[in-house]
């Protein structure tokens, strides 16, 4: 490839393997590799509990593998940079976690992930492996009334992992875990914004170039463009423009318990995200909603893109409980029990 890559990598072909090796080396007490591209807990949980598995491309670190650990995911099957793993690799993981309690497979709605998951499930079904797929599709950039299948899954999968992971570790059945998760899944919404494009770490190409001084609300999770471009707005204006539709989508009302996360996708600073959080939080509080869970951090990144995702969730009491009171010990999500 012709483009120069300005990143600390070695051979672009081996980025994914090498980053996963470094990751399990750093957090050896919590996670380990199964094969070359699949991350599992260092201490597997009992077979009578539902296993929670996810899949997705690399290049979004700490997502998705950063959330494997006690109280969250059991397994993350990794593809290549921005590319879902093929069905055979996913099938290997489903075989490993095959158990009477069953497997919940959380899939973000992107064509590649969905096609791999469906293909793997067909193969798993033929082998009598009990798998239920949960699809996340909380991006509202395509419009508030767009059908589920046309909305992307963004970083809202991460609090979902926490909720279904806690429920599974608490011994709930596959049907119960699914119900608890779907209830949250249907009550959360995400909107992304970007102001500077990223480069693909293997090809060096710039993905979705954005002119300096412009921003784009509705940006996808691989730099794919989405919503509307506008000149760069202030933090408060941007926050207002994003929290409004999110609240409308979830029909937030006085007294609702809500979760608000600002997920940094790369070069945007915690400083900016905190200022964004402040304004979005103020708008929520003015509406009478009760902010019970907040985060300002990098959960799911898009290389060195400047931007963030705003995740809003309406929480039932058991969601609050699973999020805040159940302990977890994944490398990038630790909660004291």
């Amino acid at each position: 490839m012709e483009n120069q890559i300005y990143k600390w990598i070695n051979d672009p072909k081996h980025i994914t393997e090498e980053l996963l090796e470094g990751y399990v080396m750093a957090y050896a007490d919590k996670v380990q590799l199964f094969g070359t591209h699949t991350i599992v807990r260092a201490q597997p949980k009992p077979e009578d509990q539902v296993a929670v598995v996810t899949l997705g491309g690399a290049g979004h670190e700490p997502a998705l593998s950063g959330f494997v650990g006690k109280g969250m995911l059991d397994c993350s099957v990794v593809g290549d940079i921005f590319a879902a793993p093929g069905a055979p690799r996913l099938l290997e993981a489903l075989k490993k976690f095959n158990r009477p309690a069953g497997i919940l497979l959380v899939v973000l709605n992107h064509a590649g992930d969905v096609m791999s998951a469906n293909m793997a499930k067909q193969m798993a079904d033929a082998m009598n492996i009990k798998v239920k797929i949960m699809l996340t599709h909380e991006d509202i950039s395509a419009g508030l009334d767009t059908p589920d299948q046309d909305r992307r899954g963004l970083a809202g999968c991460v609090p979902l992992y926490k909720i279904v992971g806690a429920a599974a570790d608490a011994g709930k059945s596959l049907e119960e875990v699914y119900e608890i998760g779907e209830r949250f899944n249907s009550q959360m919404a995400t909107l992304a914004v970007a102001m500077k494009a990223c480069t693909h770490p293997q090809s060096g190409v710039t993905i979705a170039e954005l002119p300096l001084g412009e921003m784009e609300i509705g940006m996808g999770q691989h730099g794919e463009g989405g919503g509307g471009r506008s000149p760069l707005l202030s933090a408060d204006e941007t926050a207002s423009k994003m929290i409004g539709p999110l609240m409308q989508k979830l029909q937030i009302q006085k007294g609702d318990k809500v979760l608000l996360y600002i997920n940094g996708v790369g070069a945007t600073t915690h400083m900016e995200m905190s200022i964004i959080f402040r304004k979005a939080g103020q708008v929520l509080q003015e509406s009478g909603a009760e902010l019970v869970d907040g985060k300002i951090t990098e959960l799911l990144t898009v290389q060195e893109q400047s931007g963030f995702q705003m995740i809003l969730g309406k929480l039932d009491d058991d969601h609050v409980d699973y999020l805040k009171n159940h302990g977890s010990d994944a490398p990038y999500w630790t909660v004291n029990p």
């Binding site: 490839m1 012709e2 491309g57 593809g79 290549d80 940079i81 921005f82 590319a83 879902a84 793993p85 093929g86 069905a87 055979p88 690799r89 992107h110 064509a111 590649g112 096609m115 791999s116 469906n118 293909m119 991006d139 950039s141 395509a142 046309d150 992307r152 693909h200 293997q202 090809s203 190409v205 710039t206 993905i207 979705a208 509705g218 996808g220 691989h222 730099g223 794919e224 463009g225 989405g226 919503g227």
Partner: protein
Amino acid sequence: MDVLTLEVFKQMINRAYTEVQAQETHFSALDAIAGDGDHGTAITEALAAVNDSAREGTEFNQMLTQMAMNAMTRSCGSTSTLIGGFFLGMGTAAKGVQLNVPQVKAMFRAGLASMQQNTQAKPGDKTLMDALVPAVTAMEAAEGDIKALFKAGAEAAANGAAATVEMQAAFGRARNLGERSIGHADPGASSWACMFGAFYNAIN
């Protein structure tokens, strides 16, 4: 050319791999406009896997199935399942070490049908279906020998891919761009057209 032998099919695969690989950067660049910039990498890796499996193939059905599994194992992203499904489907409809004209037509039809189990994308949605569906249709309608059949397929695929420039994406990563997806060819349609072009070039 009245029959397609296993050996000739292997040469076509090899040619497809070589021609697609030569344009790897181009396909990734196309994908960077509205997608995530990796289609060149994905399709090249997939065809490399298919090509590797060709070496050990001794019979169509077993070889095509092996190609599918190897492509899905080694390549990632949408391409993994799409190309995997294609070869998997072709494998269900081809047996032995040589195929006559109707058998080749049936093989490609089965490949397409298998893919359609994994995606609802139709011509006009700005995906590789805009190259593949017209190609398979043209091959079925073609009169004459194996060469004529692949010539028709290559031309239809090329025209179909070219037509995607004016289309608005309805599937895949480019979908959210809406009208802004207009103006550039779909990467998958382009690479699959390249593949069908190479199939013909290998025997011409």
